[in-house]
Amino acid sequence: MSAQEQLLLAIADDELVLGWRDSEWTGIAPVLEEDVAFSSIAQNEIGHARAIYQLLAEDADALAFDRSPEEYRSSQLVELRFVPDWARTIARRVLYEAADELRLESLKSSGDLAVAGLAAKIDREEAYHRMHAELWDDRLGREQRYRAALQELLPYALGMVDGGRRGDLAARFGLTEVDAIERGEHADGWVELWHEMTEVRRSIPGAAW
């Protein structure tokens, strides 16, 4: 796999797993508007994962669901399970969207036109996720629990972007750059999530739905 393909696979895995985690709020979010928002965001993220898997493989479902847990390239930031902690959930959304914007920015100028075109499409859709994050960051910005959650999760978000952009990412939240938690290890709870995500495909190999 080329470096670009590895990056694309990491992004697709992040979007798939975060979509799964965000969908855990469907039906139990603090207000009805957020039930709708989290369900819609989750659906979009999984749609992005699908489009990227389709660039990488003939069979997107096989790539998405037929790997062993160690083969996924997802960041621990998206794997962590936060329900019912809203402060951490929002801190993750805010940090994830900021880091995702930086990496989409570089993909949009890729020499591979299929990649650049898809990145531009995804970026336009993500703009709505960024607005949602901005609204919540404004609302919770002074809350101690939210500030602590940003601080706690920052090292994971830094691991999502290139070394040269980490200082800027931290500064966006008024934080100083700390050691990043790099992609590679998986979070506690990842294997349980993998079991849930892949259950149908493991029970009925090749199942499509």
Partner: protein, 161 residues
């Protein structure tokens, strides 16, 4: 013998599965039709990548082409070439009549919160511009929810993309 014109007319009858008042041609998602003998090649751009209706749209287009006696090949083009600016004037009017406010024009760069908070959005029911953003997200990926202070009704706004 299938002609491109017949294919376009048939596709103009294919409804959007989630907003049946508009057809796929009204939405501007059918980008190109090429006929080579029996083979009909259609290029199609998704509205939102997370749209659950994509497969249904593709299958319905294939059925419409097959009912003309053609052999359908529907290619999905997942890039930034579709924008809500491609919705036809007829499509926008049909959306409005169904209580779904048509999208604002796409501007340079991605949409910003400030634009959605401050720009003028007109209520599709009473025409008032005294409306505000209730939720960026709605029942499908392509819609937001606004509220009209004029007629005191919530309404759906097609997102600009």
């Amino acid at each position: 013998m299938v002609t491109a014109k017949a294919v376009w007319s048939a596709l103009a009858e294919v409804e959007d599965p989630e907003i049946p008042v508009v057809s796929l041609v009204d939405l501007g998602v059918v980008r190109d039709v090429r006929v080579e003998g029996e083979r009909v090649h259609v290029e199609f751009t998704p509205t939102f990548l997370g749209c659950p209706a994509l497969e249904v749209m593709r299958d319905r287009m294939a059925e419409a082409i097959e009912s003309l006696g053609g052999e359908a090949e529907v290619e999905v083009i997942a890039d930034d070439s579709w924008s809500t600016d491609r919705i036809t004037p007829e499509g926008r009017e049909k959306l409005r009549a169904a209580g779904l406010a048509p999208p604002a024009p796409r501007e340079a760069g991605t949409p910003k919160l400030l634009q959605l908070m401050s720009a003028v959005f007109r209520c599709p029911y009473c025409g008032s511009t005294d409306t505000n953003l209730e939720n960026l997200f709605g029942p499908t990926p392509c819609r937001s929810i606004r509220y009209c202070a004029g007629c005191r009704q919530p309404f759906e706004q097609f997102k600009t993309i």
